[in-house]
Symmetry: D2
Subunit: 355 residues, 4 copies
């Protein structure tokens, strides 16, 4: 891969070209043409006032081009933050990630729902129907389960993904499932519409590079003890391989408090929004660890500006093979969707309750 | 004080009497009469289905009374949680704390606003007018400031409280200010409508007992490393002295994350609501430490079910003598109140923007 | 008090005068004479290479004196850290705190031992004899107990201190006990040789100022979520009132780990030694919360450079009214002292096992 | 692999057979013979009082054998902890891991030293000579570096391992280096004597299973926010694949304190010793993040009972390409080894300073 090779040789450089506010389409096109001819990566961000062109490439090539003298160019700004492609400097306006027509980070809120683990055909189909009925756009479900103990249920693996695909065919929901290694990326790629990287793998850089080589969107969860800065740097591992379709997911951090499984860092929503252009959704189920707190945390997340939610919901939570305490019933999930649709209007977002 | 003396002798007992669901006013009155005659503390909670009578008193007295045989009594339930008066078992329905007509914990949301420290007559009057204009019910302002360094500004002390009183007379706002010791409780008592106990004093038990001896309402902040369980136990120190007018305030806990001053534990709102009957408000200013995050966190708090907010607002934040980075301007505060009033409606609460 | 008044008016200034390395006694005396005549506080630190004179006082007075022109003066250095008197800049060489002949911070290691709470005459006498027999220099014991729940045993109060005094008379041990408020400082002052400020009161600034007004040595525990920087600033509250006899005590911080009650921050020992001149001892009992871990943690603390230990030991831990799980038996404590005396030699310290 | 297959099918069962204390070699052999004939895994632990036989295998096979009736058998005890092979119940006496003749967990302390990253032939050879000279048994050095930012130096990869091998041939030191994925395990396997799993991969279960399929010893670091319980469960992932040669390494956990990079959880040493039979060493370099604190933390670790240390040492720390602030100079490392050899004697361990 282009970027990855240059990274290894330590020659990669990322900067932005700020265009003059009166520069026109012609100047932008000319700068772009020159950059592309040199084999450099180009990203154009058209703001309300001026256009910014992000440039990625070989330091030695960039050095030889007198870009600052080209018509319409105001100045060149190198990116000094350790994360570059994920930052607001490189791309000032928010990114909208398109997953087969469902847009994450736009006006519409996105809800992903489904059981912690795919357990059986009946279970996943029932969950999918309930998710669809209330308005969710994605079906979630774990097929490769990273569990604290090797003796705990580890998931149905490829069989689970096939069942999800069946649910997708019936309901039209997009599907998302966790990948945990090169091998599981390869298998999941055949079934899922979006990869999920779980909290435990937030700094499994080999895995991040792997999904970075794909163009398939990635839902990238924060680790329970990852700072926001480290998380954005980890996202950069995916993006620096060429996959810009990254959606962040806050899912609670580890603190001394024991009343909840983790502590939902609600502030991460506005903090990420100010540092990065990537969309961010919230997983209240893992943060709380108890189903009774999922509804208030979901409302809080949306009110704080999150672009969506990922919710654990199970046709029969008491019988769940994993995370039984935190999964909603279909009824509870339906109420949640109804409430979210009401809040959405107030904050100038949208969510179609009932699909 | 009655309870305190019994506590020392280790004889205090707290239990609830669950009345039969068909028991009437007559039976309740009779049980109450007997308990009061014996010098026991009585708290009646009338629920939609049945009435619960909380009883506090000397273990030896209680042992001698065959309460379970009285007409209308279904059963006696001892309270085994380490906090008793603060818990839901003792009082199943939510408490509403009345501060001179402003009710905290009811349908109406309560907003307290004002500068970190009272700095001058002009500053506090200006802040009060802005608070009033946008709809706040309380003026906050620090007169006795506990600061990390002894060389930092320590507050105007009694002079500051007098200035707050002047602001109160002009605007009609209620006033709240922090107390830090027996001496400051005594002084503040002359001026404030509600005491505030700050995060650093959450386990200053001597101070808690002191405000417990008063009947003046207390805003009781969580410490940055206090578990919710410890916090409710600390509230019990106030309540066991006889002051039941306690409002809890979540203000962020200490974690490894450095992007914010503290991590707002938004989950504390539903957790406290499920464990305790006490109202809970949120302080997003200290949690975030940066004014730009105060608005999204405020919305999140209200959406999660908080009964109100306490917001740092300064006529000129850049010149503030303390916590400059986290105080809102009057304009920002006004926008916040407007947004809160919109969310309030959706969640069946009320807030009169513009007062 | 002198400093406290100046602090309030915001005029306090702390700086050091670095003397030339060939300056003699005469020059030092002359500088000192001038400073004292002006009513300024003076602290002389004679190092192996040069002498440093710490100066505290009214900014306006200091401004008028051309100190840099006096013979033997090399330069004036203002102290910019937020803690001044507690820092290494003000006093480069380590402080040794003398408690009635027992020196804390010198070559000899100091061990304080005794029960969590004073419970009875027999219990405290037995504990004192065991402590003395193994070589401890101090008897510890709680008389005013700050407990998480108001319903837990709160200590024997003054009666407990009287029993400790009796134990002191019999064994010759010095006594140390916790104070929690102005009132308890007043009472304890009559009995104890050293005040203890507990973790919960680390930022109870009123209490810190109170013990700062005394000259009695203070053992000052870190709070479970206090950074080292905040802790040294809190120590400054005591010192800025004039009491320089402060000994720090690391007792574990609050983290997500639940295998121990708190996490002993062993690094705090070398960190404090590099930032401050104050002695530091370690409390492994509260950090671990389980008696089986006290011995290895004690050895670690001494090996890391701590100046001593404070250990919970009870004649009969199983029957203890508080902290039963973490108190050593007299036999376990005796083994600990034996092991510490061996390690002491290796690291050029001393501890007389067996007294 | 045997165990792994059974795990997937959920049939794996682990228990211990406690032999009567007067049972002899003959009874033990007979029980063992029966178990092995049935294809079950057997681990014999001969204690001073009685022998314990650990048994792993297919639940259905085990159910059919009346083991409790065999001569010499006292009772069968199922293992209920979530980690089984890593726990003390399964194997009461401490494990000693033999790495080509160097024993970790025995009387002798083991020191691993070397630079954070292998940077050049000269650098690694110089580091190796210094490590050897002071008595270290292992050379450490990063070839595959997982770095927070993708733009930071990522290591020399296989080239680095070849340089380490050259250093090994010259000095006779064993070599250890981090692996981060299936591919790097495969490459490193050709060069290293011991795999290292870094903190970021503590719950990269795929990687753990991968090194579990080898018989090569593994140094397994704790994650910065992993509880000890989770860490032992993660070790179980390696062991349940058949590789019992696991050495644990405490390297600091993430807390709110910022004076050090992480907070060394020194209590983890005695806690792990009480819960598990696996050896544990300490990495003070990553915990402290500053070279000045490495010596006191190293002494503390050994005094607390650690079986060894892993120390970052660089011929010229100021020029290091990674972790410059925390690497010792060869002289500082030499002093550390000298001090450790002195402490070793006191606590009945051994370390040959100077090799």
């Amino acid at each position: 891969m282009f970027i990855s090779t240059q990274l290894k040789k330590g020659r990669l450089y990322v900067m932005v070209i700020v265009m003059k506010h009166n520069s026109g389409e012609k100047e932008i096109k000319e700068v772009t043409r020159v950059l592309e001819q040199l084999g450099l990566g180009v990203h154009i961000s058209k703001g309300t006032e001026r256009t910014i062109i992000g440039v990625i490439g070989d330091k030695r090539v960039l050095c030889g081009v007198p870009l600052e003298l080209m018509p319409g160019v105001e100045k060149l700004v190198p990116i000094v933050e350790s994360y570059k492609l994920a930052g607001r400097t490189f791309k000032p306006e928010p990114s909208v990630i398109d997953v087969k027509g469902v847009k994450i980070g736009g006006k519409e809120l996105v809800i992903m729902a489904g059981p912690c683990s795919v357990e059986s055909r009946e279970q996943i189909l029932e969950a999918a129907r309930a998710a669809k009925k209330s308005g969710a756009q994605f079906l979630r479900g774990g097929a490769f389960k990273p569990r604290t103990s090797p003796y705990a249920f580890q998931g149905l693996e490829e069989e689970g993904l096939k069942l999800m695909q069946e649910a997708k065919e019936e309901t039209g929901l997009l599907i998302i499932s966790e990948v945990t290694s090169e091998r599981t990326v390869e298998i999941a790629d055949k079934y899922v519409d979006m990869f999920q990287i779980g909290a435990r793998n937030v700094q499994n850089f080999q895995l991040l590079r792997e999904v970075g080589k794909s163009q398939k969107p990635v839902l990238f969860k924060r680790g329970p003890s990852t700072t926001i800065d480290e998380w954005l740097n980890a996202a950069e591992y995916i993006m620096s391989e060429g996959n810009y379709n990254v959606v962040l997911c806050e899912r609670g951090i580890r603190t001394f408090e024991t009343a909840t499984r983790n502590t939902l860092d609600i502030s991460a929503v506005p903090v990420v929004k100010s540092l990065s252009h990537l969309p961010i959704i919230v997983d209240p189920s893992h943060a709380a660890g108890k189903s009774q707190y999922v509804l208030p945390l979901s409302k809080a997340a949306i009110a704080a500006g999150a672009d969506g939610l990922i919710i654990e919901m199970h046709p029969n939570p008491r019988c769940a093979l994993s995370d039984a305490a935190q999964q909603l019933t279909p009824e509870e999930f339906d109420n949640l969707c109804k409430d979210i649709s009401k809040i959405a209007k107030i904050i100038e977002r949208e969510f179609k309750y009932g699909g």
